[in-house]
């Protein structure tokens, strides 16, 4: 019972409490929401560490067993260590060499700004700006090449549906570039605008209704203990 029933009771109590909380616009109710939201953030934060532990464990096993591509895991560990070091370095240096209240923390070793966290100018911000940001931008732009090749297959006007897809996509694409305006100003101003505001809105609205009703049904199933997938499998 303790293993299966208590989680269901917790989900029910917390779920119902939050539904009721929405309809009680009292300070106590608002404070309770803020407080429990903070709890969720703490649990979520700790769960991120669990995820990171799992990834480290996987790559550690890869290196230990010498799986194919274990060298890449070494690169991963090196970068992980670098990011952790760079992230905590300003705090560690400032711990040993505290600066006066209100004074600028300055630069360490002539090139490492002692700004903690991810604020602009901090070492971690440098990593984000020069590693994470270009990587993500390039990754998303890379998808552009594959989308372009997929377009050749999707844009064959073989039926009414495919033709509508083709026309809408061409108008939207032309509407966003100077060529579209050069052909006819009405492409961005009238045609693109109408597609986005009328048929696109209608379809998106219906899809939103569907998703929302599905989400509500799923949430109710969780609260009433019908949906138990989050408990995981096993005999316990």
């Amino acid at each position: 019972m303790i293993k299966r029933q208590i989680p269901l009771v917790i989900a029910f109590i917390v779920g119902v409490m939050f539904i009721i909380q929405f309809f009680v616009p009292h300070k106590v109710s608002q404070d309770a929401l803020t407080y429990v939201n903070q709890w969720s953030i703490i649990i979520g934060g700790i769960s991120i560490l669990l995820g990171i532990y799992s990834l480290i464990h996987f790559h550690f096993i890869s290196i230990r067993r010498g799986r194919p591509g274990w060298g890449f895991s070494v690169v991963l560990f090196g970068c992980f260590g670098l990011a952790v070091l760079v992230g905590f370095l300003p705090s560690i240096v400032l711990w040993f060499k505290p600066v006066q209240q209100g004074a600028e923390p300055g630069v360490w070793l002539g090139f490492i700004p002692l700004k903690p966290g991810v604020e602009e100018g901090s070492p971690l911000f440098w990593l984000f700006l020069n590693l994470i940001s270009p990587f993500m931008a390039t990754m998303f732009s890379l998808i552009g090449f594959f989308i372009a090749s997929a377009a050749f297959r999707a844009f064959r006007a073989r039926s009414i549906e495919a033709t509508l897809l083709l026309i809408a996509a061409v108008i939207i694409m032309l509407g966003q570039i100077p060529l579209g305006q050069m052909i006819w100003q009405g492409i961005p101003d009238i045609m693109m605008d109408w597609i986005l505001k009328v048929p696109n809105t209608a379809a998106k609205r219906a899809i939103t209704f569907g998703i929302t009703l599905g989400s509500i049904a799923f949430s109710l199933r969780i609260i009433f203990g019908i949906e138990r997938a989050y408990l995981g499998g096993g005999k316990d």
Binding site: R4, I6, P7, I10, A11, V14, G15, M17, F18, F23, S40, I42, I43, G45, I46, S47, L50, V75, L82, A83, V84, V86, G87, F111, P116, G117, W126, L127, N130, L131, P134, F135, A137, T138, M139, S141, L142, G144, F145, A148, A151, I160, E161, L164, L165, L166, I167, A168, A169, Q176, I177, L196, A202, K204, R205, F209, G210, Y230, L231, G232
Partner: protein
């Protein structure tokens, strides 16, 4: 030589050429004072290397791309640890609770109620040990139940009621047909027909089939618009990356 071995040799040669090219260009850029040997200059070189390594996937999945991939995951993981500490654990758990237990002279009173989320968080790690893994369900139940409870009224309010309001506008004002009234009617017809298309409890034959066909047309226009937007978004990213390589790194475009 087998074709596989032949390919491997070609790949190794290409990799060496790429690294040599990168080294040569960067030596030229630094020695020619196009780039300064400071945090900004080194940052540009690192970003350029990552950009080119990622684009090397267009040739095929290769070690250079895999290195870039693992660099990203490693840095992302490290940042995850640092940010979790700085933005979650330190302000929400360490300062109001744990610090009081470690240091005697900490000002203020400890917030003991935070022991509950701390324990629930620690229970998450119980998942790693077979015999105690059931304890992690309590934490999941809290997160999942709370999410479901917060979600229901919020999504009813923002995604159903707020969306219904503009869908149920008067089509004709004083029985005058305007461009706007046609658009309102079209949105209503589109929304209902798409909803009917997704309603599988009735067979899509006869009238229902006809209406759902109209729904498909609306969906296709919407998908086309989304596709067009996505393509253009990606294209602008490609242009941005090429601009970065030619302007910030190589200084070909001033």
């Amino acid at each position: 030589m087998t074709p596989e071995k032949n390919n491997k040799t070609i790949d190794t040669i290409l990799l060496i050429i790429f690294v040599a090219f990168l080294l040569g260009i960067n030596i030229f850029l630094f020695s020619g004072k196009y780039l300064h040997f400071d945090t900004q200059g080194v940052g540009i070189v690192v970003a350029a290397f990552l950009t080119l390594a990622m684009y090397s996937f267009l040739y095929k999945d290769n070690p250079l791309f895999k290195i870039a991939e693992h660099i990203f995951v490693g840095i992302g993981m490290g940042m995850g640890v640092v940010l979790t500490w700085l933005q979650v654990i330190k302000p929400l758990l360490y300062k109001p609770l744990i610090r009081h237990a470690i240091f005697d002279n900490t000002p203020g009173t400890p917030d003991y109620i935070l022991i509950v989320p701390m324990i629930l968080g620690i229970f998450m790690f119980a998942r790693l040990y077979g015999k105690t893994s059931w304890l992690s369900r309590w934490s999941f139940a809290f997160i999942v139940g709370g999410g479901a409870g917060i979600g229901i009224p919020v999504i009813i309010n923002s995604l159903i009621l707020k969306q219904l309001e503009p869908s149920l506008q008067p089509i004709f004002v004083d029985w005058v047909v305007t461009w706007q009234s046609i658009n309102i009617l079209l949105i209503l017809v589109g929304t209902i027909s798409v909803l009917i298309y997704f309603f599988f409890s009735l067979p899509h034959k006869g009238t229902i089939g006809g209406i759902s066909r109209i729904g498909i047309w609306f969906l296709m226009i919407s998908f086309g618009a989304t596709f067009g937007y996505t393509v253009m978004g990606r294209m602008s990213l490609i242009i941005q990356r090429i601009q970065f390589l030619l302007t910030d790194w190589l200084h070909i475009i001033k």
